[in-house]
């Protein structure tokens, strides 16, 4: 707590991981860096490098191929680390999985949401989410990052 918690809340560095799917959330994530939604005013820096990042934003449904890489990239991050699932696909699997409502069944290629592979802290639904929704999700993640020990 104290100074360290303050510093963590003020400088969250972000890495983005695209697991599979249609790539739209990946593009929408870049919108929060544009002048209109500039997230650098919260200290967010775009570090496309899991070793430097505090927050991992995953988007897209998890396919059986990408499962291994998601796990590896999560393990490459240094503690304290926060994972955000961005978009409906990363939250549950979205339109790419079988089953009704909250009961998700995997298909022959798609496993489902990111939380089946790594622990997820913040979910941002949307297809894709509005940039404001992403900022709100990042703010939730920052609150959680502050409480990390």
């Amino acid at each position: 707590m104290g100074v360290l918690s303050w510093a963590r809340g003020k400088s969250p560095w972000i890495a983005v991981l695209h697991a599979g799917g249609c790539n739209n959330c990946d593009i929408e994530t870049l919108d929060v860096l544009t002048p209109r939604f500039d997230v650098e005013r919260f200290g967010v820096l775009w570090k496309q490098n899991p070793r430097h990042a505090d927050i991992l934003i995953t988007n897209g449904c998890v396919s059986k191929h990408s499962k291994v890489f998601i796990k590896r990239i999560y393990n490459q991050m240094l503690a304290p680390k926060i994972v955000i699932a961005l978009g409906s696909c990363a939250c549950t699997g979205g339109i790419f999985v079988e089953g009704e409502g909250s009961r998700v069944e995997e298909t022959h290629t798609i496993i489902g949401g990111v939380d089946k592979v790594i622990p997820v802290d913040v979910y941002i639904p949307g297809c894709p989410p509005k940039p404001e929704a992403i900022i709100q999700g990042v703010a939730l993640a920052i609150e959680k990052l502050k409480k990390c020990t």
Partner: protein, 188 residues
Amino acid sequence: MVKITAIKEALKALFKPATTKYPHGPATHVPPGLRGLPQFNEEKCIGCGACAASCSAKAISMEDKGKSRTLSISYMRCIFCGRCEDICPEQGIALSDQFELATNDKDQAIITIEFDLVPCQKCGSPVSTPQHLEKIRTRIMENIDPRIADEVAKDLSQYLNLCIECRRKLCYQLNTHPQKYYSRRWEE
């Protein structure tokens, strides 16, 4: 010339950035017709399940349990396409402009609406919700030819409260089969 306009723009931006104040203030641009969180209208919804049948992401599910029907939207799976709003006959579901949906707990992200079910008069298995049956009756009576309206109203009162299996089994016994209208000649 291009360079000069670019420099002008940069100098203008130096003192007047285009950034919104979003998390500390309201979102500046929420366009009309934004497809946000889908929500049930409890007064209008009749629990027919058309939204669940048409949902392209299978985010809406319909479940009959005992004497109650539950329609639930798992909005973690919803793709906000608006098919449910299009298909709903009674405007019972609509996409609101609420977009701040980020949460720490996925299991909370479910919107439900519950209905009682009318049991079948013969076998006791559920038929549909009372609102739904009432709507079927009024819709038919509004659109039917007035010359056979009395007959149809009588038939409806007989079979509307039966389950689909029983309607099929008992149609000749109760004389509700539409076959009886086939041979009728209309005086044009």
